[in-house]
């Protein structure tokens, strides 16, 4: 996958904001992820070239963080919080409900390419449990009815 000139320019600009350019690796990974929705070796090479750092420095940073999937996901990446505050409010049933509704297993994408369901650790929305993050947005205080409504809206927006 090729990073656009615009993304490369933004990565280069990010490098100017830090006393040491290696600090711009994480911002660069976010920029590449925003463009393609996942990361791979080809992107690491391009980031390394723009920043003037080593490929391995980019690759090892990318491998450490959970926010950068290494393969494409569905248009709606549904991340259900599985940690204690959400679990106490039924998040495990929320996950099962979504998987059953979509007919997929955890981490799989629906055949129409719309939905991928994964479980994640605490997302800092503990007082509004149960919750899920869909792409960038938080959906909180979830009930079965709310989930049904959201899925219908996303399908209609297809």
């Amino acid at each position: 996958m090729i990073l656009s000139q615009d993304t490369k320019l933004k990565i280069s600009q990010a490098g100017t904001r830090y006393p040491k350019i290696r600090s711009a690796i994480l911002p660069a990974l976010h920029l590449a992820y925003e463009e393609h929705g996942f990361l791979n070796d080809q992107m690491y090479e391009q980031i390394a070239e723009v920043l003037g750092v080593k490929f391995i420095e980019v690759a090892e940073a990318a491998s450490f963080y959970t926010m950068f999937p290494k393969a494409p996901r569905g248009r709606y990446l549904i991340q259900v919080c599985r940690n204690i505050s959400c679990a106490l409010m039924g998040s495990h049933h929320l996950t099962q409900y979504l998987l059953t509704k979509f007919g997929v297993k955890l981490g799989e994408t629906t055949k129409d390419g719309l939905f991928t369901v994964v479980e994640v650790e605490c997302l800092g929305s503990c007082c509004s449990a149960p919750m899920m993050q869909v792409n960038e947005k938080y959906f909180e205080n979830l009930t079965q009815a709310k989930v049904d409504q959201l899925i219908a809206e996303w399908k209609a927006a297809k």
């Binding site: 904001r17 830090y18 006393p19 040491k20 290696r22 600090s23 711009a24 690796i25 994480l26 911002p27 990974l29 976010h30 750092v53 420095e57 090892e60 940073a61 491998s63 450490f64 963080y65 959970t66 926010m67 950068f68 599985r82 940690n83 204690i84 505050s85 679990a87 106490l88 409010m89 039924g90 998040s91 495990h92 049933h93 929320l94 409900y97 650790e121 605490c122 997302l123 800092g124 929305s125 503990c126 007082c127 509004s128 449990a129 149960p130 993050q133 960038e136 947005k137 938080y138 909180e140 205080n141 979830l142 009930t143 079965q144 009815a145 989930v147």
Partner: protein
């Protein structure tokens, strides 16, 4: 976020209900950046450090270390640049207080960053924000941009001759990066691995330069302390735990939410008067008073005052101020399994006891929870947890041992029942509400 706010001691939450507070014009109308101007024009750097020392302000990230004292460890005669990092990587399960401040009152947080930067004579500060916090990030990004536009950041700020740049840095989704040395590794573009202390960041931190890492809530207190004085702040709370605290109450309560109360307020008052009592009027079973990495308190400890010393005396810690409430239908082996999974997932892998031990802890608790436990497992769990504790660079190893040890200490009968009967005597089954 729906933050339930009743009759509280509103200091940080003074204007939190104002829907336009995140806009700089509205924030300025309500007093934002007055303290910053006062610091630049009227207060010497040394006096600012003393002011915060006198206020008694202690860090709100978890450890509770005195803020002014932490600043004073930064060597002022060092030829190296000094750095300030705002720790906005809130990730401790149960904790969601910093997010409220960043989303609703970002200028107050930014103003706190500026004041702390001045206190240590720093000219480049970093705002390390949790990667998943999209709205917080957008609000902080806009607030920083607007602060530059109004001359509160940049060169020769408000004609004072003081220069300060503030860089927003987005994390990548790793709990460990909330630990200060791991945060610095991450900010340097490396994997977020924690570092051995000493040297402490105040002497050798970011890029091996003197660095202070302060939590969002800690910094948010600074503008008020500057404007109203150390004595005003110290008069709230208890003599050793001054001021207010934002408590995030989650789990089995009727009104979960973030509540700002004076330190020293009894746990019972927080749970029953503010959070509405136990969900479905069931019996209280256990409370985690300071985020997932601290020991549970039991119903007979409900009168414990929520301050650093009292909670410690009760056998736990105030930590991040996240209060997680569990009612009688909660299986404590299941709770231990949930949290063991978390620490296994989030271990950075640098220290062998943590890298290997967290996975082992999870494996055993998972086996017990699912009816495949063996009688000797309990002794192995204790031995294992004690061999992780104190044998790792950072506190994540200690934290991973806590849920297992605390549930074993107080609810051993549940573990034994799981092992002997291959099933659960309590059976947590918290369904998604329709």
């Amino acid at each position: 976020m729906e933050a339930a706010i009743g009759a509280q001691k509103r200091v940080l939450f003074e204007h939190i209900d104002d829907p336009n507070l995140h806009n700089i014009d509205r924030a300025i109308e309500l007093g934002a950046y007055k303290a910053w101007a006062k610091v630049l024009k009227e207060i010497k750097r040394e006096d600012l450090v003393q002011l915060v020392k006198d206020s008694g302000l202690r860090g709100r990230g978890g450890a509770g270390f005195p803020t002014g004292l932490k600043w004073s460890f930064v060597p002022q005669n060092s030829p190296k640049p000094k750095y300030l990092c705002c720790n906005a990587d809130e990730s401790e399960p149960g904790t969601c207080k910093d997010r409220v401040l960043m989303e609703n009152d970002p200028h107050n947080v930014i103003e706190g960053v500026l004041i702390a930067a001045r206190a240590i004579d720093c000219h480049i500060a970093f705002f390390y924000i949790r990667g998943e916090y999209d709205l917080s990030m957008r609000r902080i990004e806009k607030a920083i941009s607007d602060a530059y536009a109004r001359g509160f950041l940049g060169k020769n700020i408000l004609g004072s001759g003081y220069d300060l740049e503030l860089v927003l840095h987005r994390g990548g989704g790793a709990y460990i990066c909330g630990e200060e040395t791991a945060l610095l590794s991450s900010l340097e573009g490396e994997k977020g691995l924690s570092r051995i202390k000493p040297p402490f960041p105040a002497v050798s931190g970011l890029y091996a330069c003197p660095t202070v890492v302060n939590n969002v809530e800690t910094l948010a207190n600074l503008p008020r302390i500057v404007m109203r004085g150390a004595q005003w702040y110290a008069a709230m709370g208890t003599p050793k735990s001054t001021g207010t605290r934002i408590f995030s109450v989650s789990g089995h309560v009727k009104k979960p939410g973030n509540y700002e109360l004076e330190l020293g307020t009894p746990l019972r008052t927080l749970i029953y008067d503010f959070a509405g009592g136990i969900l479905d009027d069931k019996k209280l079973k256990a409370v985690i008073p300071g985020g997932s990495s601290v020991p549970v308190l039991l119903p007979d400890q409900l009168d414990t005052p929520l301050d650093f010393e009292s909670v410690q005396a009760a056998g736990s810690m105030l930590g991040s101020g996240a209060v997680i409430v569990m009612h009688e239908e909660t299986c404590m082996v299941w709770v231990a399994e949930l949290l063991a999974h978390f620490y296994m997932h989030e271990s950075c892998g640098k220290c062998t006891p943590c890298r290997q031990g967290t996975g082992w802890l999870y494996e055993i608790v998972h086996r017990i929870e699912h009816g495949q436990g063996k009688p000797e497992d309990l002794a192995t769990l204790e031995d294992l947890a004690h061999n992780i504790e104190g044998n790792t660079i950072c506190a994540l190893g200690d934290a991973s041992a806590v849920p297992v040890l605390t549930t074993l200490r107080h609810f051993k009968d549940e573990y034994v029942h799981h092992i002997e009967h291959k099933t659960c005597k309590v059976k947590s089954n918290f369904r998604l509400r329709s």
